[in-house]
Assembly symmetry: D2
Homo-oligomer: 452 residues x 4
């Protein structure tokens, strides 16, 4: 029942006869990364054409809209608003016509100096179409005197600070790039003879493609009629800062990211959690869907039987937008229903991936008690979240983060559980094969890689 909002998903494909449909499928696989709006931009070799709307991928596009998007190269985007409000103008890809010709961009991440750059550009007479920081890239490019897009990009990225995985589309070129910290993921794949860029490898699977490798932090990938080239975009830093929440929760379990399979790494986090915080209990249950793998790992390590204690209504999206206040008050029951016959009289270990504000989790604990659980031990497969994210995840302000203002014991009391255990930062990092120093753990320790 994770309350963190996914940020965005991006996809690009070069030279495929069904580019728009492939992009549609790629975005469908990335839908969990943003449910607010989606869009596709195609090139027919001369001009760019777009279709963007608020809503889910499957609702926005149909046969008609996809066949109107005629062309062999395309980029797409699913969005959850981080910076910039919730309105269709902010849907991406952002597309403009400027002296450089038609140009489109799809952006996953967040700039820490976006607002400052915008003010600067407006003072020089720039007119922004959106309230989204991503438009800054386009204005900087429109003003660059470098003729080649690659060179212009290298020039303008010197001014830009923050987290960005980007795909650019011109009438005859597809460019992908990832900031040198590597906050947000991006991978390179291939389907038939077409190169693909995507936020997660599950998007390659859906279109019948294969993963070649992840795009490196600080790498720019250029795909055009001459094939594939790679450039280093910047010499700013050697520090890596992969977002650790992608592995804990955001990425799909069938994706391979930062060299790991997400399903298996989360099982491992659950095992580690069981080692750090064992419990005397009869069953282990997850808070579905976010805590499932960690609960499975906990059960495997502890030997306590894994069960379903809560059933998730499959017709509810992660974020249920309820139509009435009356329903809103029913809150969690709409999403989750306890199975009394499983819970009654049992000592229960309940596992979730994280606690943000804690309000939802508290209601769930209450449901378990009402269903007859004789003891409830809460286990969380991430450390306490004490600091907000400025690199693309929509966390609340610091004072609303439960762990920023309460000790673990205070949280245990607030949750009314018999015991509470968070996975330690070291335990978390140990669950992964990559060195711990390559991750951004700012939300746990306040150690921000890029100043904001």
């Amino acid at each position: 029942m994770n309350e963190l909002k996914e940020e965005c998903g991006i996809f690009g494909i070069f030279a495929h006869p069904e580019a728009a449909k492939m992009t549609y499928l790629g975005l469908f696989a990335l839908q969990h990364r943003g449910q607010e709006s989606a869009g596709i931009t195609v090139s027919n070799g001369q001009r760019l054409f777009s279709h963007k709307q608020m809503g889910l991928v499957a609702d926005i596009f149909d046969d008609q809209t996809l066949s109107n998007l005629y062309g062999e190269t395309a980029i797409g985007h699913v969005r959850y608003s981080t910076a910039g409000g919730s309105r269709v103008e902010n849907a991406q890809p952002l597309t403009v016509t400027c002296a450089r010709g038609d140009l489109a961009v799809a952006h996953n991440g967040n700039l820490v100096n976006g607002e400052a750059l915008r003010k600067e550009l407006e003072a020089e007479g720039a007119i922004f179409q959106t309230t989204s920081d991503s438009e800054v890239f386009l204005h900087l490019l429109a003003r660059s005197k470098k003729e080649k897009l690659e060179e212009a990009l290298i020039e303008i990225l010197k001014k830009v600070k923050g987290a960005y995985s980007l795909v650019f589309l011109t009438p005859n070129k597809l460019i992908g790039l990832r900031d040198s910290y590597g906050f947000r993921p991006m991978c390179l794949g291939r389907a038939d003879f077409s190169y693909i860029l995507a936020s997660e490898s599950c998007a390659l699977d859906l279109v019948g493609g294969v993963l070649i490798r992840e795009v490196e932090p600080g790498e720019m990938v250029i795909i055009d009629e001459n094939g594939f080239r790679s450039m280093k975009i910047t010499d700013q830093t050697d520090r890596r800062a992969l977002c650790i929440f992608e592995t804990i929760y955001l990425a799909r379990p069938d994706s391979k990211l930062f060299g790991e399979n997400m399903y298996l790494v989360r099982i491992e986090m659950g095992r580690q959690l069981a080692r750090e915080h064992p419990a005397e209990a009869d069953i282990v249950i997850p808070i579905p869907d976010s805590g499932i793998q960690a609960a499975m790992g906990y059960a495997k390590e502890s030997g306590i039987p894994y069960h379903w204690g809560l059933v998730r209504n499959r017709y509810v999206g992660r974020t249920f937008i309820s139509p009435t206040q009356a329903i809103r008050e029913l809150g969690v029951q709409i999403k989750l229903n306890p199975i009394d016959d499983v819970l009654a009289g049992k000592r229960v270990v309940v596992v979730d991936d994280s606690i943000v504000r804690g309000t939802t989790c508290r209601k769930i604990i209450k449901m378990l008690r009402n269903a007859g659980a004789s003891a409830v031990h809460l286990r969380v497969s991430s450390p306490p979240i004490q600091f907000p994210c400025f690199y693309g995840i929509d966390t609340p302000a610091r004072k609303e983060l439960l762990a920023a203002t309460h000790t673990v014991e205070e949280i245990r009391k607030y949750m009314r559980v018999d015991s509470l255990g968070y996975l330690s930062i070291l335990g978390l990092l140990d669950s992964m094969s990559k060195s711990g120093s390559e991750f951004c753990t700012a939300c746990f320790d306040g150690n921000y890689p890029v100043e904001w």
Copy 2:
């Protein structure tokens, strides 16, 4: 990945200040029983008012439509077409004005003599509004000379043969009834001070209600300003014929039906399956979502570790209606994605709840092989389906049922699995606490309780 279509779900509530909203929530909980259309009819004490549409409950109703449905008593219906085509006129509740006044009905089930009754009524000058058999009830009632609705119902039900759980609404009365075989479920509950009728107990949970008991086969329940009364509707039979597929697959795991919790009974079926058909393997995986509980039971009984080998895209409904032919060809990959890192080199037991035509299952087996499974053992938590259903489940014609025309060994070869095991009829019945003779097992053994 069950291919059987749910039939319908019904809900009714008497004397609640937010009757339409409660019904909305009840239908939302019953959405899995029918995704084609939904409707709500309310009584304001004088007249009935309805809102019905093709689509999902959450899409059909909003604040506006619900507050227009002003009244304290309501019935609702979610539909998957069994008899009668797929068009909005057939959406239920069916509502008419006749000499008896306003009258509405919501029906779960299928009449075996529906067509014959319709012809007879038309010969007498009746004009039908729909192609749905459920309308027969209304015409029979409009023609009955019995003044009281209860008496008219008892009179007309003598002519009707087949499966029916029904709720009727008049301006000041709510009536529920269930045929004497009890094919389709219906339960009685209460929320605040209001009586509720619903297909499954999960609908009571969602509205904050409690289960009183199941409505008995052959029972008519009358709720009006004088409170609650029960009558026996018929003396046709003592035979019970509860639909066994409700327990295998149709009902939600958090529902209590026929005296059983669905989650636990399915775990038990998986255990029984493991006893009947053990396997040498490294992991047990379900075909999600339909095989999950049986796979968990199989793993528990066999000691083979339970894992996810296939990830289900949560943005796909049970029945994914793909917008283009191109996508349709991609078929199963849109719904399910294998996790190679889990499957590669492993001997896999894959568990599903049933096989109907077998085409989907065969594609999934192929995906597992492609992902590197070294052996695949298919286990099915129901017996082979050899006969079509005439009591409300949308099975294909007999010749399209794989097990009607193939031996188990032929099916094993067709599926290209190393071994195949179906749960036996006796094993299935043993998993449940009720006596086996109370169930309808016609789809397995052709023993039809009501002639058709």
Copy 3:
């Protein structure tokens, strides 16, 4: 600025390869007869298919909906509600399936014993789909034991009292009929080799057809694969009662009805009005659009120059449905704007076709005064309306009819005009070539041909 509501328009065509499109065009030409809803029903030789909706013809149908209406015979209807409320269920053609097969009807007129027949049928078990009287025809037909539709019609029409011009459609037959009084018009035409039935001849013009003749009062016209036949439907009466308001206002000026061209007969009414009520004035102006021809006739006869003193906003329909209360208060100014340069200092004869409640007319007179007219002489090309209509025109209750409760001099004072003249009943009847005894003049003299 006539306040009377048109009733309905009907159209039917037999054996034309583009039957639905021809019907669409015919309805478009008849749009002035009803703007609330429209519908088309086609026969493909086996079954009937319909598309009906609230709104204007051009908004309801498009290429897609029309090509879905595949078949060579069709009927259509535009509706303004007279009996039965304003809801899409009441849109016509009404279509049912009964023992007789598929059957559709489109009705122009009003039954005086509709409610009584309905009650009678319901007592026998009939279930009505609509609140429209027109459905009575279908239930009577469904219950008739006569096998041939023509014979069943003759049988059932004995029970029906009131005004009706009707077209019936079965899978292979088109039938038109008109009550023996001939209240509402219907004509017979031909386009290419296809017979057509239509409310007015302007509908024949639009589809490139020619007028053969009017359908006679009391005549039934049967068109099928054997060609065209005519039968006398009833021997109830020899009295004719053509609706005189069709000639005064309702029918289009380019239609030929009751043997007259509507444009020329209205010019003649204006001439007669000038003879009966001359005036000393500088200009003659119409209240557009309803008074235009009478004003032209008045000007021709009197020699006073014809001018525009009020301009009608062409984007307003006859009945302007204003979106806000604020706009509703602006009232008449939205439809009509005075031309001060024409009116200032002039003695004005202003001509309209009728006065019903008089409220609108009074506002217009005030506008003319405000624009500087030095004298205003109101002339009305019909006699005072003193009695409501029960045969298909939506007049208000008697007490709301200005002329039912006020003398001409009282009306003159209320209108604040210098003089007021109504056309006399005899003068009106003299303007036409048919004998005056053939018309219904009940709205002027209370002489109702059919009891109600």
Copy 4:
């Protein structure tokens, strides 16, 4: 049956409690000037908010959208595309946020150097949101260093060449201006205590306002909390070039423009036409609606009776967008229906306001012949159109203008009329009170006031 497309209509109101509704009404009155899209932008004193859409004013706005447009100052626009394609992005008012704050503009006219300015701005890094020339004004303003909007406007207008009547809106200021040639009209009025700017005076009438005076060519009008100020915007020229087609056809007959009432001036053109080109005939008929006043004038001067020979279907807009090819072929009959009883055996003078391509007119002449007219004399109340317009009217290319490539006698033969007479340029100018040298007559004589 004029084939020239109207260009645009603009409206602005300052400090009215119902600013959005007043603007809605103003646009409704100006609907004839553009039916492609419409929009309203309001200021709440701090920010600007807009609602724009393709379609007609009455379809785009409703209570909800208007009450969302909360604020006391507003501008609005109706559009027929001249430069820039037909898409919603081009709908006006155009609104941006730039360093200067929120800024909106609505434009009637056409720039002759719009494309060149756009290229220049793009070379400097500007990103255009639309393909409309009107956006040039906003980019020039965003780049101007003058702090006050009035001063910035005076500076940038030096660069702009062509026809423009403009209203600008900022959070606390309403500015109107008109190019120094005065091509397109704009007037100043007042309703209650609020100043209004509008393309035509009929918009003032609808909102219950009064005309103060026309905004002068070359005048800028500033309305803010300090009241009303006027400035001369430019010293480029003393030449006036009022668009003569506004008086011939474009403006509504109830508008007062260039000092004339449009209805009366068109009557006078008809009289002048009768003097220049008399005819031996029985009746004078207009091609409705465009030729009505000129036909009335012709009849008055010649003494030949004025009649309707063609009836216009009131449910067709000026430009009928037919839904199917089949209907498109029916062409003119959908809009106009001849009255045979009026035309048969008559010598007819038929009057229209202008001939552009001539194809529609030719079909109408044929209809008159088919209806039995024994002679047809065509009279046109404007001179032959030989040159395209570059100042805001959508004329076809020169080679498609019938009179550019044919003599009058050739046109007569092509039209198959017995005689043909065009009003002379001098006769046209004499019909008006203003000096002929103040008008642009480029479409007749190729004498273009501004080079293109």
